[in-house]
């Protein structure tokens, strides 16, 4: 008997405590900060890092300056592009520093919900395309026109592509029209998805080591060009709207000025950090320098950023809030 009442009392107490912790009101799903944020009473900024090294370079430099110049603590989380928008909207991350253009998400979160704000240009222009290694393009100059690709199909053949030439594609999170392109341009190629950028880079480097020909989906700016020089294959010219229907695309990829995006609440109340991130703007070469230190010299992102910051003070001084 006594035991029953005691456990009942315990249960009641637990329930009470639970309600007390949560507050009985509504939970705010747009304020879902990371549990690791703000430890030790510091001001924290959470940045989303995409899986490619260029994005790591942006974040590394921003993190270095936020921590060393402005006294913030920075948490980084690796998230794929589309889910990052959702996380940004929920306040789990405060900013995306490099976005390659997601019209649908811009409409939903910026125009619709108003939970995300534009943060301006990153200063880097991105471009996606098809590339062959330069050593191969020099031997066969006409491979750089898509019309001649079929002629070389059997040189690009691998075990994985069966009887056709192999067009190596990368991570599933990247924007790609390659299947439709191969189809619509009547190319004798098979798109092979590497499944992750790491796998794609490793494969490209193995091909390059043996000077084998390959055709790959790739993008600029990218540090790998410094290690494996590649030449772009010309696809039918890009015109505004030619990629509107994903099934019927038969043109090249556009040149995209990369964008920054901030969580609205952070943009308004984020103080120096928000002001700094809005002003953060550098060039393709600068990003590449840092990316190369990370990916090729295997420096940790923080060391690489530290090195760059030491040599480029004039550039980053102007980003700091006055």
């Amino acid at each position: 008997m006594a035991r029953t009442t005691r456990s009942a009392a315990l249960a009641a107490a637990a329930a009470l405590a639970l309600t007390a912790i949560t507050g009985c009101g509504a939970a705010d799903m747009t304020r879902q900060a990371s549990p690791y944020a703000d430890a030790k009473g510091s001001r924290t900024v959470t940045l989303s890092v995409q899986s490619w090294v260029g994005a790591q370079a942006n974040v590394a430099v921003a993190q270095y300056l936020l921590e060393h110049e402005l006294g913030y603590r920075v948490d980084t989380v690796q998230i794929d592009e589309v889910p990052a928008w959702d996380a940004l909207s929920q306040g789990r991350v405060d900013a995306i520093l490099e976005d390659w253009g997601h019209r649908e998400q811009e409409k939903r979160y910026i125009d619709g919900k108003g939970t995300i704000e534009r943060g301006g240009d990153l200063g880097v222009t991105g471009h996606i395309g098809w590339f062959v290694p330069t050593y191969f393009a020099e031997e066969h100059p006409d491979v750089t026109d898509w019309k001649n690709l079929n002629k070389y199909a059997d040189q690009f053949r691998t075990a994985e592509s069966g009887g056709k030439g192999q067009l190596l594609d990368g991570s599933p999170s990247y924007v790609t029209n390659d299947k439709a392109l191969v189809n619509n341009l009547d190319l004798d190629y098979q798109v092979v998805f590497a499944g992750s950028e790491a796998a794609q880079i490793t494969q490209i480097r193995q091909f390059a080591k043996e000077k084998k020909p390959f055709l790959s989906y790739w993008y600029k700016p990218q540090w790998l060009f410094e290690k494996v020089p590649m030449t772009e294959v010309k696809l039918p010219e890009y015109k505004e709207g030619c990629d509107a229907d994903p099934q019927k695309v038969a043109c090249a990829y556009p040149h995209t000025p990369l964008q920054k995006f901030l969580n609205t609440r952070f943009a308004d109340g984020g103080g120096d950090a928000a002001a700094f991130l809005k002003k953060f703007r550098w060039t393709t070469e600068m990003q590449n320098d840092v990316a190369l230190m990370i990916a090729d010299q295997k420096l940790s992102p923080q060391e690489a950023a530290g090195r760059w910051v030491k040599e480029n003070e004039t550039t980053w001084r102007s980003w700091l809030p006055s």
Binding site: A27, P35, A39, V77, R92, K298
Partner: protein, 693 residues
């Protein structure tokens, strides 16, 4: 009274827990191995009480009969099918396109997440509670400082498991710091503590219900059985959809993954409780509650602790995979290192996970061992001394302001590891004289094995695949398992992913074949030579706990992009369990049988093939089953290195937030898993004579 036929596995895993260092090793898989073994025990124990004695003879006769019957029926169905149904893949008229409704669901959730009462008053709170608790644990860990945490871990291990484990724990935590991973380790630990606590609570409650009520047991068992074979990735997308990327989603996915073993072991423990003791308690007039608290639960202590142990291992196995949905911590470091193709850095973050797994596993296993022994003569005094010591270390740490790991005390393993990997891939990739390089092997394997297998499966008329699945399952299991297998396979067709599923199936089959070939050979060798066995053990431990992300890059560097590296990754992952189960089975063969064979003049070869292997058959079958389940669990990882098919679709769904593609692929993987598990599950068949099963 208690266990009836129990094949080798359950017992041997139990004794293994005492002997082997990291007993259950794989977070994901050993967990499966141990628990599914216990599941086997559960199924054999519960129903048929009388039939086992009458077993062998009648059973064998019936089985022979059955085999012929099944053969005739299959042939008949083949002829009928050829006439009525024709050839070709799954007919489109029988497929359902779910992309419309799934896209609408996903849109609805995103649009209403900030305003709908379901989220504001329920799911939002769940999410907040998770964040608050993880944060609380994290802050406590940070407040203890590195010295405090290490000391506390050491003292705790000392109390429950003795001096040797205490030293191991201290060394493990120190290594985490040395590798420069202190903060991520604490983040992962915080997440783990919350997730394991929730799993144990939830699993315990479910297990309690299933242990006490037969009806609950009947309802829960198939659900838990199914969850046991689900690959971890299948859980991610639905949670992400509801909670968004981040720690709450990661914790919940982990809980869903780690709770089932706790539930099934709790139920097993309660149902297995010595009836005599319970009877005695009843006759003494104990009420139901008293019986539960004073007799049944204490009797089930061993299973309960094994359940906790399994939950921990499963949760750690999820730690890296959950980084894909924003769990942070060590997993995120591994994941980020992947982006810069940095195996060394990935390894530096992977090693702490292995160490955590080793320490937690050994300590909980040791605690389980202790329980049977007479009450330890450690007094409250010892406990107080331990607590005081920890407090002293914490205060000391605070005084010298050494809460975070000293920056100078780190060891950079990334560079040497990368150099080693570079050397390996540069020298093995191609052009090795005589045997050819790994790239050539991969090419041949793709062209001569994977390609024909895939094309063959896809060429088969859809109904023959179902027929083959049904006949196989019927031969090995019961009509019930056969029905499940056929329905699962048909569901794949209905989902509209027939072709990619067969592509995945072909990869799984090829990888399983390689795994079994190597695994049986190594397992037998390890069983026959104790020196080799000892040498292999640590290697197996490491491979089983190592997060799969770490070996993605080496695998591609060796085998190129495509299905071959996916198969290689699967082999690496599944091999340890297969080797271990095989070795155990062969070792456990009755020495008397071996002795008599020897006295009859059998050569070593004859002993092996005519005595040891036939007697170890149940273990070998279990190894096949585990091999299949584990290989399938890596399919999604295979998608990351060019395996394509369902694995790629699942990754694509996560990466693009595309519910239609991701969920359908996930469901299809689940169905494949169910089908393969049922087709290879040897212990399921209860005696055909009883119960009509």
């Amino acid at each position: 009274m208690t266990a009836t036929v129990t094949p080798v596995p359950p017992e041997s895993t139990g004794s293994d827990a005492s002997k082997t260092p990291v007993n259950s090793k794989t977070p994901a898989d050993s967990a499966t191995s141990v628990t599914s073994a216990s599941a086997g025990a559960a199924t054999t124990t519960t129903p048929a009480p009388a039939s086992t004695d009458a077993g062998p003879g009648a059973l064998r006769a019936l089985a022979r009969h059955r085999g012929r019957l099944i053969g005739v029926c299959t042939a008949l169905a083949l002829v009928l099918g050829a006439v009525l149904l024709g050839g070709g893949g799954w007919p489109t008229s029988l497929a359902v396109d779910l992309s419309g409704p799934l896209d609408r669901t996903s849109d609805w959730i995103i649009d209403n997440r900030d305003s709908h009462p379901l989220f504001l008053y329920f799911l939002g709170h769940v999410s907040n509670i998770v964040v608050v608790s993880v944060r609380a644990v994290y802050l406590v860990l940070l407040a203890l400082g590195w010295a405090g945490v290490t000391a506390a871990a050491g003292l705790l291990a000392w109390r429950v498991a003795g001096v040797r484990l205490a030293l191991t724990s201290v060394a493990a935590f120190a290594a985490c710091g040395l590798l420069g991973m202190w903060v991520p380790t604490m983040q992962t630990l915080a997440l783990m503590v919350v997730a394991v606590a929730a799993s144990v609570l939830l699993g315990g409650l479910l297990g309690l219900a299933a242990g006490l009520s037969d009806r609950m047991h009947r309802i829960l068992r198939p659900v838990l059985d199914t969850m046991q074979v689900l690959p971890a990735f299948a859980y991610l997308l639905p949670v992400v959809l509801v909670f968004g990327i981040g720690v709450p989603a990661a914790v919940l996915a982990t809980v869903v993954y780690a709770a089932p073993p706790m539930a099934r072991l709790t139920a097993l423990g309660l149902r297995d409780a010595d009836a005599g003791v319970v009877e005695a308690a009843t006759s003494l007039g104990a009420t139901g509650r008293q019986r539960l608290l004073t007799a049944r639960l204490p009797l089930a202590r061993k299973e309960l602790l094994l359940g906790v142990n399994q939950s921990i291992m499963m949760a750690l196995g999820m730690a890296v995979i959950a980084s894909v949905i924003g769990a942070g911590g060590l997993g995120d470091r591994v994941y980020q290192a992947l982006a810069s193709v940095d195996v060394g850095a990935a390894l530096a973050a992977g090693v702490p996970i292995v160490l955590l797994a080793v320490v937690l596993d050994r300590v909980t296993a040791a605690a389980g061992e202790r329980i049977g022994a007479p009450a330890a003569h450690r007094s409250a005094l010892v406990r107080n001394v331990a607590a005081l010591l920890t407090a002293a270390v914490v205060v000391g740490g605070r005084l010298v302001d050494g809460l975070s790991w000293p920056a100078g005390w780190t060891l950079d393993i990334a560079e040497p590891v990368n150099r080693a990997v570079d050397w390996m891939t540069a020298h093995l990739y191609s052009g090795v004289p005589l045997v050819g390089g790994t790239a050539d092997w991969a090419g041949h394997f793709t062209t001569w094995v994977l390609g024909p297998l895939r094309d063959g499966l896809q060429w088969l008329p859809w109904w023959t695949v179902l027929l083959a699945v049904g006949a196989l399952a019927l031969l090995i299991g019961t009509w019930r398992t056969a029905a499940t297998a056929v329905l699962a396979m048909a569901a794949i067709g209905v989902l509209g992913v027939w072709d990619p599923a067969l592509d995945t199936l072909s990869q799984v089959l090829a990888a399983v074949a390689v795994t079994l070939l190597i695994g049986f050979a190594l397992g037998v060798a390890a069983a026959r030579s104790s020196r080799l066995g000892r040498a292999l053990r640590p290697v197996l431990d490491v491979f089983q706990t190592m997060p799969q992300f770490v070996y993605l890059i080496p695998v591609v560097a060796l085998f190129g992009v495509g299905r071959a590296p996916a198969a290689a990754a699967a082999v690496v992952y599944a091999l340890p369990a297969v080797v271990r189960i095989t070795a155990q089975g062969v070792r456990a063969v009755d020495p008397a049988a071996l002795e008599s064979a020897r006295s009859l003049g059998a050569t070593g070869r004859q002993q092996l093939f005519q005595v040891q292997l036939p007697l170890a058959r149940p273990s070998l079958l279990l190894a096949v089953n585990q091999g299949v389940v584990l290989v399938l669990a890596v399919v999604v990882i295979g998608g990351l290195v060019g395996g394509g098919a369902l694995g790629y679709d699942a990754v694509f769904g996560l990466a693009q937030g595309d519910l239609a593609t991701g969920l359908v692929a996930g469901a299809a993987i689940v169905c494949l898993g169910l089908m393969l598990d049922r087709v290879t599950q040897p212990t399921q068949r209860r005696d055909p004579a009883g119960k009509g099963a």
